[in-house]
Subunit: 738 residues, 2 copies
């Protein structure tokens, strides 16, 4: 019985405060000397020949031209243990017919399949609790592997077996532990209901209420109207039996205590029919992710047991008095920030999972697709065209940069969560540092999620177009990626709203810039701003193409941009305030070209910083060092080029030279990297089963795979059942017209 | 019997050279005094109250604030007759259950429905030949109306009842007339097969051959391998009985006469089974347009009757001699260019059809969706946020600009086709002018198609994101638009390849710039280049926000950009040539930041020119004039801003001021236009039935329509048939593991 190990471990906590579970987790963790942000380089570089070779084929030409050993770079960017874990998952899925790739399923069948697959993955038990305790990076690694295979099933898995239980653990107490256990055992199926039809970003505007009635000792959950219906709830449309519902808690004295979370029974697990007082429906087709049944729900004075209030931050006594166990709720600010960040860090990884599929498909296609060529000579692979290089290779660099950042960032988040939960920091200084780390991660995630979502969307679109007409076929695998990634721009904080969190914080720091140490934060994302005066007086110094794309010049330029945008945005805010604008309007009128750009360059600078640190870490290996420098330079120069106007406007550059050498530098780097492009794609791509693209298989047999994919499809050569209606169109006429 | 009028007219040509049909068409046309590019303004402005008012509702607030009468602008941009024709079509579709919007159909059912609908539209006979003869703008108008309703059916209709017959008429002779007639009667169903699996853009690389055998008097059509399979052929997957197949014509002497077109029997219309020697299959799911059955086909020495060669430009005698009827094939260069342009002009209109759906949905959503607001005040419509205005309103302006251009451009194309077919120009001067018009239209269409495809893609994506999470729902109508429009970037000339046609021609002209009159072309798209020396010496003169976005300043800047990019690209070409690069490499290395940008700004400048001319044409109506100027300025400034780096680089601007005033100008215009945005959306939007969006209905009842759409869907509240598998997940375990 597969559940046994879980049950034994979990039941051992029953009856005690179940937060002991987290403690155990953390104590186990603590045994690991420290949670390294990067794994041990030495070990990794030693095991560079354990990865399989690619099958020989048309891609060999480029593979042989590569300037570096793709295995070394792969194992530098991705711990071998994690890669092998992914491969194990993919192999297990590939060998089970339920995971065979299918398309053309109606909505209902997509949901059924996603549900079945989710349970099958759970049954496969890739991640026994013991393993998570050993290495907390595994859950996210597993999620990435599953996302690369198929996102709908993965989201459903994650909602069902992770999010619901985690929220119960995080916001509840021991009286809720049975929900956690039942969810893990598949006896109930949970979901998370926060957003309402007319309120998403502005959570304060939510209107669902939970009024406590001491007579029945129940909360009456109520949705005043359709606009207050909870919506977009994954699992709720067809499959959830329980929901965590956020509602304004009203005590009998009429006092509104703000949003609280309630475990709410939605459907009877025995019949899957909704309970009386619950109107629950499905939201139908979406752009993508159609295996997930997103739903909406309205409550009509629906009774919820008093005990089902998740009562970590506040509870109601049987008599109806509101009580809160926290004397100092500010204590956990850092940890709370980290909790908020988790979803966004997860989205960065999801984007990464998609981007490292799309770009390799387009690169391998470009290396094997030939079109046109010099007079009377063989046609050239389209990868040889400078225009095509310029379209694709910067996204390839961006994918490497994002992959590097993603791994670092997940580890940093795990570190801060651990520190907060273990209460490792006893003295004031280390408490402050922990809080600072939480805030810095929050700030970074608030811009990294939008940056990752947008760049992934663009990368997929360019990859799709770079595969020409064939890229439009489902078997290319690109259109589905685009549809699935799209939602990342608007959920878990709409990109354009969320990104304001970053600029708000940076501007707050800026206003205190005369205070010593105000820019000292653990990840060093803002340290340089302490030198703002000097930076603002500096100029772009490069005079050659080579200099223009050198790490120092690029970093300096980004730092100038950040300081300049801080100063300009602050100045704009001051001007508007003096004109009598209220603070709300001031903020709204200082976004475009200012605060919004500030948040973007802050994130881009940090991504550049991390990939350059990575390069520095392997300086001894000249080939790896060089390729990482080129990737860094291309990403940096290409990102910076988009901000050149602001650099001209702010006087950091002037005249023709800076734009000329920066643009020439981008083109030169694209050209220098084109022979490495296939190997870089090999470094970041998942296995062929997860890639699932007839155009981008690792064997490079473009047309063979294309033909195979077409011919294997069962409907390719069939005559439709309605063939008699194809010609003789009078049959289509309404009788009256004949 | 609905076919009668067609039959009478068509049969009257049987036995004669059927090109007489075109002649009649043109003579009829000629009766119209001239084909006005713009219809008579006076008439239009007099009938401004014949359009229905919108139902009262939440959008009234903005509608009342509008600075202009939306009906006047609508009828200025869209001839009332054409609008009424569209409405007639939409009303007819809405009243017939077969056109009820449906989703969640499997692929096969989508094809069946598209086929049925196509025939039903044909049966509705919206466009009797007589009407086309009266007004040649009607076919494209009908296409736009149908595209806005549903693209797959429309493409199928267009391939079946327009493209197949037109190619037969255009490339064949009277011996092929029966195909035209049978296609119109629905006895056969045609398609057009040019592209091969391994060759698209490079048509010269096609490898299908048609070798003539005098013994049997047949061509043997042969595909050497899968890479030479014809592919992407709309209608071929499941429904075509006949295909126009392009193959290299080989005479018995072994000589290759290049690509020729053959009417080829694919499937027996009586059984819909393919003939022996034909391997035909379906290409399966695509990103969008899944009602169209795109197919591939391979021929195995498949016999085609000698007479089925479409023999306008070349024929083979029964004995196997190649003959060509044209003594001076150069004669029709202009007309041929125009024919090449027709597909691209059509795509501009398709993009327009999509863009004028997407942007109005997002604008109406923005006007009715409220989120956040000043402290203790009502929440604001998101349209009030400057950031949101900046995201959406430039696309709204672009949609108006593109709509204006689309109408002009279709009319210009009709004019040049007419002139060419009627042979109106007898003297050398007017022949030259006609050829010049053809070339200019070709050049414009080669950049307008890419520009329209890209901007529409971006507009739909921004519209989708601007509707937040709700924009991801199918009932929002945006994701389907994105998937359907996507293909426009890569078919009928891949955007990045096609756009080189424009720069090639501009650079040719540039090389002859000392020749007097070399820039005189009928549409005036390049006239100003004659003054290049003066223009290249000029500078950006604006010193205020108002000036920066004034028509003169914007046009001057675009003209400088074009001249500067011509000069820089030509200089780059010279440098590379001197370095010994061959002409192929020279071209490839002068695209990025140079030739490619040149083509883009050339098109953007022309779009701006046409909208400004439109504004000038209504100068007497101050309100219309003002709103059109604002729209023009915003489109111009927003497009120009993307090229500011090149302007700094080339020394046209310097210092902080130009970027500052141009960017401030964009923001000011967005803010000035926000109260007009809903009315501008009303001007360009189709009727609600065609718009088909729960978020963007013209009544503005956002949440009511949202609720209605959810509740009306038959599956919203149903329990899935597989409900027993939802919980108790052990059921999902393989038996061996239990």
């Amino acid at each position: 019985m597969l559940l046994t190990p879980f049950r034994i471990i979990l039941r051992s906590f029953a009856g005690s405060r179940f937060s002991a579970l987290s403690s155990l987790w953390c104590r186990k963790q603590n045994k690991l000397s420290t949670l390294n942000f990067y794994s041990d380089q030495t070990t990794m570089l030693a095991v560079d020949h354990t990865l399989n070779d690619f099958p020989p084929g048309p891609l060999d030409v480029y593979r042989k031209k590569a300037s570096f050993d793709w295995r070394k770079l792969k194992l530098l960017l991705e711990d071998e243990k994690l890669w092998r874990f992914k491969v194990k998952i993919w192999q297990a899925l590939e060998s089970d017919p339920i995971f065979r790739h299918v398309d053309d399923l109606p909505l209902d069948a997509q949901r059924e399949l996603a549900t079945k697959r989710m349970y099958r993955v759970r049954a496969m038990n890739f991640l026994p609790l013991e393993d998570i305790l050993e290495d907390p990076r595994l859950p996210l690694t597993m999620m990435i592997a599953l996302f690369q295979y198929e996102p709908s099933m993965t989201v459903k898995y994650s909602l069902t077996f992770s999010m619901f239980g985690n929220v119960v653990l995080g916001l509840g107490s021991e009286r809720h532990f049975h929900y956690y256990e039942e969810a893990l055992e598949g006896k109930i199926l949970g979901c998370f209901a926060l957003t309402e039809i007319s309120h998403g970003s502005n959570a304060k505007g939510m209107r669902t209420i939970a009024k406590y009635d001491p007579a029945t000792q129940k909360f009456l959950l109520h949705s005043p109207d359709f606009e207050a219906a909870k919506c977009w709830v994954g699992n709720l449309g067809k499959t959830a039996t329980h929901a965590i519902v956020y509602a304004k808690l009203i005590t009998p004295d009429g006092k509104d205590h703000g949003l609280h979370a309630f475990v709410t029974k939605i459907r009877d697990p025995e019949t899957m029919l909704p309970y009386e007082g619950v109107t629950v429906g499905d939201m139908g087709h979406k752009g993508g992710l159609n295996g997930i049944d997103n739903g909406f729900v309205l409550f009509d004075n629906y009774p919820v047991d008093r005990e089902d209030l998740l009562n970590k931050t506040g509870d109601v006594t049987p008599e109806g008095e509101y009580v809160t166990p926290f004397k100092d709720p500010n204590k956990r600010i850092g940890a709370n920030f980290a909790a908020l960040s988790a979803g966004r860090v997860g989205i960065v990884s999801i984007c990464l999972a998609y981007m490292t599929k799309a770009v390799p498909i387009a690169v391998r296609y470009a290396a094997t697709r030939r079109q046109f060529g010099p007079e009377n000579k063989e046609e050239l692979p389209i990868l040889e065209y400078p225009l095509h290089q310029w379209r694709l290779i910067p996204y390839l660099a961006a994918a490497v940069v994002l992959k590097n950042f993603g791994e670092f960032f997940s580890a940093a988040l795990a570190e801060t969560s651990k520190a907060a939960i273990l209460n490792l920091h006893q003295d004031d200084t280390s408490k402050e540092q922990a809080a600072k780390l939480g805030i810095e991660i929050h700030t970074l995630s608030s811009s990294a999620k939008p940056v990752a979502a947008w760049i992934t969307n663009l990368a997929i679109q360019e990859s799709r177009e770079a595969c020409g007409g064939h890229g439009y076929l489902k078997i290319a695998g690109l259109c589905d990626l685009r549809e699935d990634t799209d939602v990342n721009a608007t959920y878990e904080g709409d990109n354009n709203v969320l990104i304001q969190q970053t600029s708000n914080w940076l501007l707050q720091l800026w206003s205190k810039r005369k205070t010593p140490g105000v820019f000292d934060f653990p990840l060093g994302s803002v340290t340089f701003i302490a030198d703002a005066d000097k930076i603002l007086n500096s100029k772009f110094t490069a005079t050659s193409v080579k200099e223009a794309v050198s790490p120092k010049v690029l970093q300096d330029a980004f730092q100038w941009l950040i300081c300049h945008l801080l100063k300009s945005t602050a100045a704009k805010i001051e001007t508007l305030s003096k004109k009598g604008f209220d603070s709300f309007s001031v903020k709204n009128h200082s976004q475009v070209y200012l605060a919004r750009t500030l948040s973007l360059v802050y994130c881009e600078h940090f991504l550049l910083k991390k990939i350059l640190e990575r390069a520095e870490s392997v300086k001894a290996d000249e080939k790896l060092y060089k390729i990482l420098l080129k990737v860094s330079s291309l990403y940096g120069a290409w990102s910076l080029e988009k901000h050149l106007v602001t650099m001209y406007q702010g006087g950091y550059v002037s005249g023709a030279l800076p734009a000329t050498i920066l643009r020439d530098g981008i083109l030169d780097l694209c050209s220098e990297l084109k022979d490495d492009a296939v190997s870089l794609a090999d470094v970041i791509a998942p296995c062929d089963f997860a890639l699932n693209s007839a155009l981008g298989m690792s064997d490079g047999e473009l047309y063979k795979n294309f033909q195979k994919a077409l011919c294997e499809s069962p409907d390719t050569f069939t005559r439709p059942s309605w063939w008699r209606q194809v010609t003789f169109w009078e049959a289509a006429l309404p009788a009256s017209k004949l």
